[in-house]
């Protein structure tokens, strides 16, 4: 039932984000197909004019950049809430009087958040694949898989950051504002001084893209993904410790 409670708490944010991302992806790939095929829309039998395939994949890179932006905003919002927010709303004493440990409460919240974050990555890109397939210009399924992998593997650190912020700050507006601030600041700072370690560029595929074909290389930056996932794990662990030590 804790999963059900967590679902009730996040479903509005999740479904709104999912609808926004999916519609955006559908519309954008429809536009990309139109641009790639120029005046011959829909492309006849998968035929693409010479030089247009790279154009099509370049637009997919742009799609991923927008998807990353919206996905990060969505997972930051999904990371909000939790027992600290419940304290501000006055329901923490009900939740904490249940025979459930704070660790389990956090585990359920994080578990559902990760599942929703995965869904927010998979379904929009599945839409990209579906729309391109209907338009007879299917995106390579491996490319879709790689984009999703980058989004989840690299981007979960943003969700973890949001969970940590919401474990410290209770305000309805201050918590997301602070979380967005941290995300923005780290992106800018890493870009300025530690460009090679910028998670944002990792997630958008900037480190893996072939600038001629605009296809993602199958040699993904695994080290970066593992480092990002490990950082996310550590941040989530810190969140659990913070919540365990807090007074409610």
């Amino acid at each position: 039932m804790l999963w059900y409670k967590a679902w009730l708490e996040t479903r509005a944010r999740f479904l709104t984000s999912l609808a926004t991302l999916t519609i955006f992806c559908g519309v954008f790939v429809h536009h990309a197909v139109y641009v790639a095929c120029s005046n011959t829309f829909p492309c006849a039998e998968g035929w693409i004019r010479p030089g247009r395939q790279a154009e099509f994949y370049r637009l997919l890179v742009v799609t991923q950049e927008f998807v990353v932006l919206m996905w990060v905003m969505a997972v930051v919002l999904l990371g909000m809430g939790g027992i600290v927010r419940e304290k501000a709303l006055g329901t923490a004493s009900l939740t904490l009087s249940l025979p459930v440990s704070r660790t389990r409460l956090m585990r359920v919240r994080v578990g559902l958040g990760v599942l929703e974050a995965i869904a927010l990555a998979v379904l929009p890109w599945a839409t990209v694949f579906g729309v391109s397939w209907v338009a007879r210009m299917p995106v390579l399924i491996t490319q879709v898989g790689l984009y999703v992998l980058l989004l989840i593997g690299g981007g979960l650190v943003y969700f973890a950051t949001a969970v940590l912020v919401s474990s410290v700050v209770a305000g309805e507006y201050t918590a997301p504002a602070l979380a967005f601030g941290v995300v923005l600041l780290t992106a800018i700072m890493f870009d300025a001084w530690l460009r090679r370690f910028n998670v944002w560029r990792l997630v958008t595929g900037d480190y893996s893209i072939d600038r001629n074909t605009y296809l993602l290389s199958e040699h993904l930056p695994w080290l970066g993904i593992v480092a990002s996932l490990s950082t996310a794990g550590l941040i989530l662990l810190a969140s659990v410790v913070v919540v365990q030590r807090r007074d409610f």
Binding site: M1, K5, T91, A92, L96
Partner: protein, 297 residues
């Protein structure tokens, strides 16, 4: 139930910076009875209850509830299976319906009493499909009480349970509390409604500024506390009444009013020695005991 105290604290203290919310509290709440926990706003009642339930970490001291140490997280989780708690503000999830709330809460308690749930649903006339956020304050209180009563607890902790209830609801609540106690449930509740406390409580604890000032059975309090009104021929010397048991003396000219927690006979004897013209002894209600106790401190 054993004869061990259901709640036992030893020098339990909670500080927020330099401010002490609870000071070296030594509390012993026996099982199978209704214990009232009285105190003004900010006296430390809710802080004490939250420490017992593991929501707040004590600064120092120790406590056990149902025989388990409260500061051990796993032990506290285990003991919460046997404790029902209704907080002061009757917290409930506004986004759930009444039915969802009941299903949610019941899933954590294998001993959930469906018969009690059905009876209280009927008696309280709670609308099953209405969202909690659309319920009135009284309805929310009733739902919170239903969740507490139906989980078959060994210990029921209620913080201002009657707040938000109409007179009929309060009457019903008191009856249910007595019935729960009769079934072997230990009840520990805080309230500002002293008339209600006086009707149902077996034992009374009064907390003021984090310190336990009174810890006695209601019968003991009724028997030992007295107000003694004296009239003398001339202005009486107050210092002659500074004897054991005298809590407060008020003098208006030749009239003197002595509030005593015990030793009424000795005070009367002293008054007679001082040739009091009139001696009137009156029993004191819990309301006066409470007011005099907190006023003095």
């Amino acid at each position: 139930m054993t004869n061990e105290p259901v709640i036992l604290t030893h020098c339990l203290t909670k500080s927020y910076g330099t401010a002490k919310a609870v000071r070296a509290l030594n509390l012993s709440v026996e099982g199978n009875r209704i214990t009232a926990f009285l105190g003004r706003n900010g006296a430390g009642k809710s802080t004490t209850i939250k420490m017992l339930l593991g929501m707040i970490r004590p600064t120092s001291g120790s406590a056990t509830m149902l025989g388990k140490q409260i500061i051990d997280a796993e032990g506290n989780r285990e003991l919460r299976k046997h404790v029902a708690y209704v907080a002061e503000d009757k917290p409930l999830y506004g986004y759930m319906t009444v039915e969802q709330t009941i299903r949610f809460a019941s899933s954590f308690y294998p001993d959930w009493r469906s018969d009690v749930e059905k009876k209280l649903l009927r008696d309280y006339e709670l609308p099953l499909h209405r969202k909690v956020k659309a319920l009135s304050k009284g309805m929310r209180t009733k739902l919170a009480l239903l969740l507490a009563f139906a989980r078959r607890p060994d210990l029921l902790i209620l913080d201002e349970p009657s707040e938000g209830l109409d007179p009929v609801g309060i009457e019903y609540l008191l009856q249910v509390l007595v019935a729960q106690a009769a079934e072997g449930v230990s009840v520990f509740f805080s309230s500002h409604q002293i008339a209600e406390v006086e009707r149902v409580a077996d034992h009374v604890c009064i907390l003021e500024k984090g310190c336990l000032l009174v810890d006695a059975s209601l019968d003991q309090l009724r028997q030992s506390y007295r107000r003694i009104d004296l009239v003398f021929a001339s202005v009486p010397p107050e210092r002659d009444f500074h004897i054991s048991g005298v809590e407060r003396i008020q003098t208006h000219g030749r009239e003197m009013s002595v509030f005593a927690s015990r030793n009424a006979e000795a005070i009367i004897a002293r008054a007679r020695d001082l040739e009091a013209v009139s001696v009137e002894v009156a029993p004191v209600g819990l309301r006066d005991i409470f007011l005099e106790t907190v006023k003095e401190n």
